[in-house]
């Protein structure tokens, strides 16, 4: 029984590594920043989840901590990528020439800038 769990866990570890390898290849091949971060976000999330699952199967005692890790990864990974991509867009990181349409450009306005009081 323990051996079987270990084998399944190992399989998940390998799968997670392969997913992350694909992310690395994607990072290399994609033409611009926005496409790259797409690949990186999805693959690193799934890859990390697979690795965490594999570790949980090999080390059943760590399972509760890994549950917290799961939720944390699912929340923080997309949010942080969203922030990075948004910051990149507003600092005008160029898009690839293939880009068909940019709806955000049309609606960008002063609404994105906000004046705040600095008095303590």
């Amino acid at each position: 029984m323990g051996d079987l769990l270990e084998i399944i866990g190992g399989v998940f570890l390998v799968l997670g590594s392969i997913t992350m390898l694909l992310a690395a290849i994607g990072m290399y091949r994609m033409p611009d920043f926005y496409n790259r971060i797409q690949v990186a976000t999805k693959a690193s999330t799934l890859g990390l989840l697979q690795v965490a699952l594999g570790v949980g199967l090999i080390m059943p005692g760590w399972a509760p901590k890994l549950v917290v890790l799961f939720v944390f990864i699912l929340f923080t990974n997309p949010i942080s990528s969203h922030l990075v991509a948004r910051a990149a867009y507003f600092t005008k990181v160029p898009m690839s020439k293939d880009t068909k349409i940019d709806k955000l450009k049309e609606s960008i306005s002063k609404a994105h800038l906000k004046t705040v009081k600095t008095k303590a």
């Binding site: 994607g26 994609m30 797409q38 976000t41 948004r86 293939d98 349409i101 709806k103 609606s107």
Partner: protein, 162 residues
């Protein structure tokens, strides 16, 4: 007060999961720390209370999790296909979609789900407009894109955070 209590319960469950033990000393320490944090950092947070706890909503939450994991795996398969294909078949663009969700948490979960599903990435959110970077643009108008991207999750989230 309700927010603080909910935050306290959340933190307490995280604490128990982290420690993986029900040792009374640890539980007491955790209760103290959680109480302190829930009052220090959560004076006006209304996030957790936005969750609907009716049985239907809970059932929909489970369905949502399964749909979401399915989409995440699909996303990775599709992105791997794109990455490994020699011609690199991409057709990127930024489209605008609209969501019907009113609650902030619902919108956050929707944005995260969109980020993790095939070929789409939430680039900006302004009220009910979401701007999405799409690797393979299928329709450029708002309604078509909304139908393609948002509707998969929206029907679950509408019940969950209704």
């Amino acid at each position: 007060m309700k927010n603080n209590a909910l935050m306290f319960l959340t933190l307490m469950s995280v604490w128990v999961l982290l420690n993986a033990s029900l040792d009374p000393t640890l539980l007491a320490i955790g209760a103290g720390v959680s109480l302190l944090i829930s009052f220090a950092f959560c004076s006006k947070c209304d996030v957790i209370s936005g969750i609907n706890l009716s049985p239907k909503a809970i059932a929909y939450s489970f369905m949502f999790v399964f749909v979401f994991i399915g989409e995440l795996i699909k996303a990775n398969i599709s992105i791997s296909k794109r990455v490994l294909a020699p011609s690199l078949p991409i057709n990127p663009g930024i489209v605008q979609v609209k969501t019907k969700l009113k609650s902030k948490v619902g919108r956050m979960v929707l944005a995260n789900a969109i980020t993790l599903t095939p070929g789409t990435f939430t680039l900006d959110i302004k009220g009910e407009d979401l701007f999405i970077h799409w690797v393979d643009v299928k329709s450029t108008d708002v309604d078509g894109a909304t139908k393609e991207i948002v509707s998969t999750f929206e029907k679950y989230l509408e019940v969950m955070y209704g």
